[in-house]
Symmetry: C2
Subunit: 243 residues, 2 copies
DNA sequence: ACAAAAGTGTTACACGTACACCCATGA
DNA sequence: TCATGGGTGTACGTGTAACACTTTTGT
């Protein structure tokens, strides 16, 4: 019989009734958001295995017995989609009794934002597909993944209002209009151009570059990048800006 | 041998190597905050059992095999401290490999705010004590409970700035000065009396009562209560006020 | 009358909002 | 020169911060 205890100093026979409490599985699922200049997208796989064969799913899998959750998430993301070195933030844990047909599995959901251009997903392991999917075009999803996605999207929208998420979602160089479009897409609103610019620039997070976006048939826009130092400084104090 | 699968339709012998993945324990821990008019306090128990016998701890215990996490938390809180019908919000899950000496246990931490006057904790089960403890007076705590507490406190402080937490922490009837003291304590700052009042009243969340606080040797202050309707309305839209 | 806290009004200034206007480019 | 989006200035109203002031109670 498989030992249920990781610490050999504890004798399981001293706690015979404890075994039933050590029969949970733990999985991780990671909702990865990206932006391509037009749509907000989420990285989804197609399952090549039962249960939920062929269903769309958030990338995720069971955690190994001696692996911590963040490590597991990085491993699973790499195995299924090829993505590596992703910044992860814990979202929420879903622990419903019947959420997994194979047994009692609680899943720790993670959340990530990244520049879509930097990551080209390639399905492997039991994932038969891995695609950036516009968040309006979600099909039926495996397990309770739709619910997980909804919670993640809510978090993203809340996040936009408190942290400069453009830092993570936009290419390194971008125009103020790019940034405004991102915010308008995420929050599903419209902003006044002049006021948006004033507010964003007043935060002092952006460094103007000596570059313009070219090859457009109208006036070229100045490119900016985020100032990582200023971002750090504000991060620690917890921003709190509103749009 | 104990079956590891809750769903009898799945035959475990079909997945022999899967057993090692179903050897986790899951616990819940609940950080309950209260306010007594002077201090912010947290509900802690003293452990009457190994491991960490006699240590201060956040109330929590292992989840039963067919019990969902919120139900488990309510049960555990009632068993250990007598508190019932508490509003819970999920905080974060702590899943470090070595955080529990008995085996691999991930804990789902919950978070709660309540009126201290309404709840008089009584230790039972394996808790030998249950006390409202001022958050400055924390001793050494069991497991990684200090870390969990720190995350909870951070959440509380962030929360104060976005939701009117007084709603949950103050007695039903309170004065504007009570509310101001609460905010000053939580955020560790000072506010101008006149400006604080103007701002709070402008939110329209408070209903003035035809009552005064009496038996004080200075001018009696008007009592207020929260307007639950207005709170609901703003809740859905996600407040976002700052102080 | 005094102490102590309740409660209000005034002013200066920062900031958000609305909107009008000019600028640079390719076709 | 026109269409298109880039980019800026101003004027107005609201909100914030600082601070002085008045009011009401018990002793």
């Amino acid at each position: 019989m498989q030992t249920l205890f990781t610490n050999p100093k504890v004798d399981p026979s001293q706690h015979p009734d404890l075994n039933q409490y050590f029969a949970f599985g733990i999985s991780v699922d990671c909702v990865v958001f990206g932006y391509d200049g037009v749509d907000v997208k989420v990285l989804l796989i197609k399952r090549g295995t039962e249960p939920f064969l062929e269903y769309q799913a958030i990338p995720g899998d069971l955690v190994h017995p001696k692996e911590d959750a963040v490590t597991a998430t990085q491993r699973v993301l790499k195995d299924l989609t090829g993505l590596q070195n992703i910044y992860l933030e814990q979202l929420q844990t879903f622990a419903g009794v019947d959420r997994h047909p194979l047994g009692r599995v609680a899943t720790i959901a993670y959340f990530s934002l990244l520049r879509i251009e930097d990551y080209n997903p390639k399905p492997s392991s039991w994932a038969t597909d891995a695609q950036w999917t516009p968040i309006q075009q979600l099909g039926e999803m495996a397990f309770d993944h739709k619910e997980i996605f909804d919670v993640a999207l809510e978090r993203l929208q809340r996040r936009v209002r408190h942290k400069p998420v453009g830092f993570e979602l936009l290419p390194t160089e971008f125009t103020l209009t790019d940034l405004q479009h991102l915010y308008e897409t995420l929050l599903n609103t419209q902003f006044d151009k002049a006021n948006f610019r004033k507010k964003i620039l007043a935060m002092g997070l952006l460094l103007p570059l000596d570059k313009m976006r070219k090859a457009v048939r109208y006036r070229p826009a100045r490119l900016y990048k985020f100032d990582p130092n200023r971002y750090e400084a504000l991060s620690n104090r917890g921003f709190l800006f509103e749009l």
